[in-house]
């Protein structure tokens, strides 16, 4: 009873705290000072057409490095929790009557799904690469492209859940992209204004693929990293179930 009371009290406190935020806010007429700075100077400064990318990769680049680290930690956690050891507990067989009674083996994908997955896999893969290579020009970027690439692999696993997957290339891609991300950041420290500064490469022509200094390089590396990490998560979950 007292617990329920505390919960209601806590929720009420949160709601009261949020209320002025929800009702007091009018549509802002102007950007905040720092956002104005980004909008007026960002394009000339970095040469990226997509300002959100400028913020993600450069202005808040260190945050993004942190986010990628969190992603890595989460992947490591998933692997540790699921793939550490195969559950082989002799005592639980008698208890798990339900497990032995029902057939838990997974159905293989239908012909339609298999053919569709084989057809779509390279196209989705290419689309993911397109998204992160053009992250500085159009909506999208490394995080979105990485997730799209993962979805292609997921589709393959839906079609054939026992498909073998090479782990070496996944690990190499993950390690390489992570190390190269930091290395490019350090290049910025040596040849430009600071860590993760992309201006050590020529700015190029505004709106072209090869422009905005090292932003497309960094975002592509993030894309490879995110794609490899999330594919690793999907693969670990699949293997732990079979």
């Amino acid at each position: 009873m007292i617990k329920r009371f505390i919960i209601v009290l806590a929720l009420a406190a949160i709601a009261v705290g949020m209320y002025p935020l929800a009702w007091g806010i009018e549509d802002a007429e102007n950007l905040s000072q720092i956002a104005t700075e980004y909008v007026t100077d960002g394009a000339d400064d970095l040469g990226a057409a997509n300002l959100v990318t400028s913020v993600v990769v450069t202005y808040r680049g260190l945050d993004t490095l942190g986010e990628v680290t969190v992603l890595f930690a989460a992947t490591a956690g998933v692997t540790m929790l699921l793939a550490a050891r195969k559950p082989k507990k002799p005592g639980t067989i008698a208890k798990g009557k339900k497990d032995s009674g029902e057939d838990h083996s997974r159905r293989t994908g239908s012909e339609l799904l298999k053919t569709g997955a084989a057809l779509l896999f390279p196209i989705i893969w290419m689309f993911g690469i397109y998204i992160f290579v053009h992250g500085h020009l159009t909506p999208g970027g490394g995080f979105q492209g990485g997730v799209v690439i993962t979805s292609a692999t997921l589709l393959l696993f839906f079609a054939d859940s026992d498909r073998k997957m090479g782990h070496t290339i996944l690990q190499i891609a993950e390690a390489f992209s992570g190390a190269a991300y930091v290395a490019v950041g350090l290049l910025g420290l040596w040849f430009a204004a600071g860590f993760l500064d992309p201006r050590f490469l020529p700015a190029g022509e505004f709106g072209q693929v090869f422009s905005a200094g090292a932003i497309p390089v960094i975002y592509s590396l993030i894309g490879i990293k995110v794609g490899a990490e999330l594919t690793g998560i999907v693969d670990t979950m699949r293997r732990s179930a079979s």
Binding site: A10, M18, L21, I25, L71, V78, L82, L230
Partner: protein, 120 residues
């Protein structure tokens, strides 16, 4: 009430539901769903706060040139934060789900009460 307030209100409502679920549910899967609701609610609030009246996406092209962009675009900073937060939320949800699987294989229960080590 305009659209921004509606988005903010719905975002707060979602996060409240998420808080409520986290505090009252004992089933790990329901707690994970509550967390996802909280996550989505916070994303909505952040996007709502970054909106500028009649603003468009801060991506320059023929229709949006740099010189008169101020006043026409939304704040790019919350968009950037939410963009990464969505993907990180996905990975963290995967981590929580694997924890749930792990708890189930070792304790044969999905209740958070089965994890006695978490109590103090």
């Amino acid at each position: 009430m305009n659209m921004t307030q509606l988005v903010l209100l719905l975002g707060f409502l979602l996060s409240l539901i998420g808080f409520w679920g986290l505090m009252t549910r004992r089933d790990i899967f329901r707690m994970i769903i509550s967390f996802s609701l909280l996550d989505t609610g916070v994303h909505m609030v952040m996007i709502g706060i970054g909106y500028v009246k009649n603003g468009t996406a801060p991506i320059f092209d023929e229709a949006l040139i740099v010189e008169d962009a101020v006043g026409k675009v939304v704040d790019p900073v919350p968009s950037a934060l939410v963009l990464t937060a969505i993907v990180i939320g996905l990975a963290v949800t995967a981590l929580m789900l694997s924890y749930a699987v792990r708890v189930y294989t070792s304790r044969k229960s999905l209740s958070i009460d089965a994890v006695k080590e978490l109590k103090w």
